[in-house]
Symmetry: C2
Subunit: 324 residues, 2 copies
């Protein structure tokens, strides 16, 4: 029998700014992919039309003969069980966005969905640096702090499909205001936005000279803070120290729950290198219960973060394998 | 074929004061059981001789014809993967107690081992109030705070067999000294010992009259604190409030990891009833991320805590089922 068609999944990664779609085979090879603007501030119906058009375009790409076995979607606040995006921040798509049903109307295949950080964890498990690992936690340190938990090679989804929101464990009972309405959530400290807030707190508390005094809150990005720190700017260095200390101690709490083999860090904040990872590991170790000391690895992600669609692709492949 | 032998497991629950052994069938019926003093302060070799004698006695019980399919053991700090008790507090048995190997020398069957709180979680899953649940967390609020995490009907054991030590998540970075060497661990606040420490802090800070001013630290037990609270003693009431507030907020962090359907509380502190559970639930709800609010149940254990050997029995039955 001539086998001239390749089995693939359609992977969709929806971000606040860009959406990426692609066809991915069982080994994580991206046969074809395409990026377009999400337009998260326009109505969801606009996105639906856009997505349908882009999917049609992708599927009509010449030269690849494929069979789509299923669809994997990663999106902010997406619920694994309901298939909806629930109150996604920075999107004007409503409180319950029926993402799964919408895609099903465009293309009628098995659809699997989860939030971006969970998808990222599966991407690391199947195609990234967690290949061969059984228990690990991915932390995405970007605008917010997302997390995906893998236990015994499976994504921990929880009772209602929303497990793994480590951005909202509490650091200080009356701490910084969080987008979610609570106070003192971890992501208000340990994320790109978090370290920026810490920089502004330090600029306010101390009299120390700093390059960072030239930036407005809205203009300052993680890049400037990293660059300042590398140049020896004391405010920037102290901001990294404080951020690492808080995140490290909370990672120790996560270990007390799950005893993972490793943490894998992705996102802007993780790119600062040893400046961040060294005090982070130090703080985690100092807070670890005896039984865990010296056992938990901390890695900076390499592969998957470069290709966001490998996450949703891995989700689809995992779910398809479990069904068969 | 005449089926006159009943399939059972030998269940062993080792506590700091008493050890209980018994034969338990697939439905959680205890066919025969026996309790003896652990003598944790004497050498482990003494315990070994004692255990062997007691097991022989149990197995020679007249009237029950049984086939032992396996052995389940619950013991403080027991490691699911290594089969050893690691640095058990209050035991003078050494740093690595080779419990599994020792029992294997007495009776050569498949042996499964885990710590007491994990065993308790499995007991609730198979024979207790968590029958039919898939995701829940058991908290044992006794001298310390133990925990057992069930995810998708399976015990979360972690990479090295020691997951689920929620007694050692951090409450205050420079908080109370813990037996484990860290400071500010949850069990120094949320346990019978923890609430006692809080009572003494309140007696020191306030000028309020209290029945509890008549007790020395070593004499005061959870019972007196509960009774004082029920009589309206303000120090005792405030101690329950503070304890509940701390535990509730940390339970919210656990939800952010695992999104369980429920928490099941056991042990001395849980027996205080609404006095404790009402402010506990209030505090947890106030700290929960939106997606979880109003969804997480809190129960006080009924069944299993009465019979500690149902935990290790459940462990043995689960492991035997997975192997076949």
């Amino acid at each position: 029998m001539r086998k001239d068609k390749i089995d693939v999944v359609l992977a969709i990664d929806i971000g606040g700014t860009f959406t990426k779609i692609g066809l991915v085979d069982r080994n994580g090879t991206i046969l074809s992919s395409h990026v377009f603007k999400t337009e998260a501030k326009k109505p969801f119906t606009d996105f639906k039309i856009l997505l349908e058009k882009e999917i049609r375009k992708l599927l009509s790409t010449k030269g690849i003969r494929h069979t789509i076995l299923g669809i994997g979607i990663g999106a902010p606040n997406a619920n694994y069980k309901t298939g909806a995006m629930e109150n996604p921040p920075n999107f004007r798509w409503g409180k319950e966005v029926p993402l799964k049903d919408t895609v099903l109307q465009i293309i009628d295949k098995s659809i699997y969905i989860t939030n971006d950080a969970n998808a990222s964890a599966l991407g690391e498990l199947y195609f990234g640096m967690a290949k061969g690992m059984k228990n690990f936690v991915v932390l995405t340190l970007g605008t917010g702090l997302g997390s995906g938990i893998i236990n015994e090679k499976k994504l921990v989804v929880g009772e209602y499909g929303m497990a793994g929101e480590l951005g909202h464990v509490n650091v200080y009972p009356n701490g910084r205001e969080c987008n979610c309405g609570l106070k003192g959530c971890l992501e208000t400290y340990a994320s790109v936005t978090g370290i920026k807030r810490t920089v502004f707190r330090l600029l306010s508390d101390s009299k120390e000279d700093s390059i960072l005094r030239n930036y407005s809150f809205d203009d300052l990005t993680g890049k400037e803070i990293s660059e300042a720190a590398l140049k020896g700017d004391n405010i920037a260095l102290e901001a990294f120290q404080r951020t690492a200390k808080i995140l490290g101690s909370k990672m120790a709490d996560t270990v007390a729950h799950l005893e993972p083999e490793a943490f894998i860090l992705t996102g802007g904040l993780s790119k600062a290198g040893e400046l961040f990872s060294q005090p982070l590991i130090q703080s985690m170790e100092a807070s670890l219960f005896n039984a865990y000391k010296g056992k938990i690895k901390v890695f900076i992600s390499k592969t998957v973060s470069n290709d966001a669609i490998l996450g949703p692709a891995a989700l689809a492949w995992q779910e398809l394998a479990m069904e068969n």
